[in-house]
Symmetry: D2
Subunit: 338 residues, 4 copies
Amino acid sequence: MHKVGVGVVGLGRIGRLHAEILKMKVNNAELVAVSDVVESIARDVGERLSVKWYTEYERMLKDPKVEAVIISTPTFLHKDMIIKAAEEGKHIFVEKPLTVTTQEAREVISAIRKYGVKLQVGYNRRFDYAYQKAKSDVDKGKIGKPIAFISIARDPGAPPGWAADPKLSGGIFLDMLSHDFDMARWIISSEIVEVYVIGGNYIFEEIRRKGDLDVVSIVFKFKNGVQGLIHGARKFPYGYELRTEVYGDEGVVYVGSSIDNMYARGGKEGLVYHGAPWFEKRFYEAYVNELNEFIEAIVEDKEPPVTVIDGLRVIEIAEACWRSVKEGRNVNVELSYY
Amino acid sequence: MHKVGVGVVGLGRIGRLHAEILKMKVNNAELVAVSDVVESIARDVGERLSVKWYTEYERMLKDPKVEAVIISTPTFLHKDMIIKAAEEGKHIFVEKPLTVTTQEAREVISAIRKYGVKLQVGYNRRFDYAYQKAKSDVDKGKIGKPIAFISIARDPGAPPGWAADPKLSGGIFLDMLSHDFDMARWIISSEIVEVYVIGGNYIFEEIRRKGDLDVVSIVFKFKNGVQGLIHGARKFPYGYELRTEVYGDEGVVYVGSSIDNMYARGGKEGLVYHGAPWFEKRFYEAYVNELNEFIEAIVEDKEPPVTVIDGLRVIEIAEACWRSVKEGRNVNVELSYY
Amino acid sequence: MHKVGVGVVGLGRIGRLHAEILKMKVNNAELVAVSDVVESIARDVGERLSVKWYTEYERMLKDPKVEAVIISTPTFLHKDMIIKAAEEGKHIFVEKPLTVTTQEAREVISAIRKYGVKLQVGYNRRFDYAYQKAKSDVDKGKIGKPIAFISIARDPGAPPGWAADPKLSGGIFLDMLSHDFDMARWIISSEIVEVYVIGGNYIFEEIRRKGDLDVVSIVFKFKNGVQGLIHGARKFPYGYELRTEVYGDEGVVYVGSSIDNMYARGGKEGLVYHGAPWFEKRFYEAYVNELNEFIEAIVEDKEPPVTVIDGLRVIEIAEACWRSVKEGRNVNVELSYY
Amino acid sequence: MHKVGVGVVGLGRIGRLHAEILKMKVNNAELVAVSDVVESIARDVGERLSVKWYTEYERMLKDPKVEAVIISTPTFLHKDMIIKAAEEGKHIFVEKPLTVTTQEAREVISAIRKYGVKLQVGYNRRFDYAYQKAKSDVDKGKIGKPIAFISIARDPGAPPGWAADPKLSGGIFLDMLSHDFDMARWIISSEIVEVYVIGGNYIFEEIRRKGDLDVVSIVFKFKNGVQGLIHGARKFPYGYELRTEVYGDEGVVYVGSSIDNMYARGGKEGLVYHGAPWFEKRFYEAYVNELNEFIEAIVEDKEPPVTVIDGLRVIEIAEACWRSVKEGRNVNVELSYY
């Protein structure tokens, strides 16, 4: 059986993980190339995985064995790299978020439609067993009628490098909380149509300087009447906190925990738990699943499970959040028509 | 040493609990009388506790041994009963909330100032060890600088009887969530100055008919810049849920849980926990503590720990919540000047 | 309706609790007297509860209103006090354990049979909702066929006063672990017939000097083939630990926890929980229930729920444990025939 | 820098995992060959990982690029396969347990000493972060003086295939509980010198027929006076249970949990948690670590972290357990002199 040839560009922590998973865990794919602008990284990964390596993305795109690319580069590079891949007729898996702005997202949508390639956005939580249980239980009516979606997300610290600049990353609402907005839309099966945000700079001077926020509280409404609450923060003292709950009239589902219940120590001070395992470990299976489903969408010629429109929607929500903060009032989400 | 003579009026579940605690657990108080409009209840409690019993509140107020009264009657009766007690020079402990409206609350404030009696409102969570640990840890800087207060409150079902009518009880924001607003003000040590609410009728037809709401999500701002989030619902499938957390730049405190970790059963379906013990059991010590502190305020002639102004503030917040719902936007809390 | 007149002797922490519960929470009982050798304690409790008080137990026994007595004195006094009460025709509720030795227990059995009075032993865990759920789930087959009973019991510290002397208290196997043996027999509905114990002195020099042990590990067999494991220790750093589990071929029930899940604080060190609420609070309802059932047994003239034979059996087990430790091998429990 | 060439033999679930880890995650190793008696499996793994594949172990041993072998075959094959590898001068990593009997283990010890090769046994829990925290906290005195080691191990079901036959696998004490004995020896840093076991056949008729046991309770003594308790069972209804605690005079450490705290659903029945993630996922990092340390021991020419003597000791303990069961009494562990 034919295996889809895949190239991975951007060999940071997540890109490397994608490459390893494609080598090992995706039956219908064959990792054929990797690419990174830093030569030593590209060579190192290429040799270990016994595949070709490039330092120029464009050259990898010309490789006829590469039928699909995994783009794991900084957000602000996504738009151009996606369009180039589309022009070469390659299918595209792009790390979240899709692009920095809705304007860019619309350009991307035009390109992939024009060239008829598939695109999947890397909202990996959709492929995590715990969120999937939540979605499945909600869909099956196990909690009755869903009424409220609540998410608390606290990262261990300020984002490093380019991600600290909201002009390059979209800031806290897109770079960090688009995961939660995507979960909200996916689990509730309805669009978010109105948001009200209070937010501020409480912790990191650098985040303030760059024009981003570090702690925000968001109330929002879904089109189907469900209520939403998200609290996000850029600091957490012992790991990270990622808890989502969906409340219904007959039950509640809870996803996530701040603690690792596999170890605890009791002493005079009480019983001490440490943080939950950090996200690569927590979401390893999710990373495996999302790539398998991406390849499956190519092989079976069907819609990828996280579409370019899904990618657009959370950028629209993030832009509404910025407007709410600036105007100090609740605002509608401006949904593009597609 | 002189013991403060106390009479209890309204011998429902909580009134009876107050009476028993005064008989047994309050060193400087002597339970001298109980009163209820239902004669069999008044007699029954009076005989078991070996004290006088009345069916007319006004007659109990004339009893010279009664120096203080505990008012555990429906909210809409509070204002008149407080004023009568004040006129007789009796100190007053009144169950929460203080009154139904801010207008009534202002009348009460005038009366107790005029007659120079003490008044404490029964916000019992302030006397619970877990909330006290939270307050104490926040005050001591154990979580650094507090940044956000988050509370999730889910009652087991619709309020019974008169409490279902928002004109008599104040509705969900006052009857139920004033506990959470009181906790917020107390732990954060700052006034709530702005609220935005989305709410609706999702579950109980009767609540809708009476003009109340059954699920609400609230974002609010404290004067000191701290963010607030409260989610409240009138139904919970396995007991009740009451969780509060305070997030700071160096730590977080968590209060409450929906489960009782003292029992679990594992089978094919997984491990099943039941609900947390219902609130009389959960808060028994808090009820003991609040009455001890009330008596102490009388004996030592000092301000009670939950003042009439505290009682007013949460009514002001509840009224702002109603305005936000009606106007569909964020509104300021109108703080009376005192 | 006639209420059973009750006198309480021994007004330490638990005796006082029994008296308060009888005053307030036991419908068919009337607290009529209390007694303690310390006059100030007896007077204080008597006055607060509005009942007669004695300093001489024998005089209280002569009080015709006293139909039943609650004996909350040190273990080594139980035998004589029970026999005196029986001679006066009073029903008896005695704190656990029944007596120090099986020899004493047999004397007690003779006396209560001769005088036809009822006797209940204060194994309060049988009346706690969590242990009752365990028993009920096991009895209903919710865990399939029970296969193993496991209990871990860790007290906060060495027993105070007389209880530190195994000649007066029975030592760790009787004073402390007879609760666990009673639970084992009750939940599994079978006699313990063989024990093997390893134990030692690891912590408290005083316990060693008095001839007791401070940490023990016990494996035992029930007559019906179920396996048993108990680990007991006289020290626990943050409260106390009391966990029991029953393993069956279709499920497991878990009772108890070392932590109070109502409060936690997260900081750099992780998430810290404190100890579970201390036993009077944890078992308050159980204390209420056991006295209600004792009075019910009198009123309805039926067997008390924890019989004198139950009281004897755990002493037999404790004596077998001591033999196992001394002989360094597994030994049979010598069950008296009744 | 030279990378150690490694061949993996036995490409079942764990063998394949070892191969993938060597390909990807072990810096100083190079996976050069894989081997399995089933040709399709050998070819499939070899091609995916871009390495040579064999169906004959002996031929892989002749491959000069293979400097070390990973043996992941059934226990009863270990002895011969280890000796063959030693004769070829290959270093050996062998899955646990080392061999079926102490007699076999002694032959293995002779061979590896004679041929001067290194051997590590796959007790992977030693490399798991949670057990390592426990060991580290105990070693640093964080729990004071260790007093008792307690382990509860419940597998999801009867072992499949050859492992069901105690003559081939060593039975429950070796095949399953040698993990716990290894943890006990490692964390407590002392030998187990005496055991007492009660065990039986409660669940699986096939286990009884093959002469193995399905539920056992073990009390044991360490040379340094620490007490030990292990409860093991071959069935668990919702995943598997693996809990270890070490009690000391100043604290306790707890490892493991039967539940996955990342998801829960609340409904009328209470709050339901599912089982903890199955062991490959739970111990993935441990598998990575143990192979890294094995390769490091070769490269730096030092003793592997789990030695052949460690492998022998748990077989000695397992044999003592079988004697205790047969003789119905406590017995000494017969420690070979090395």
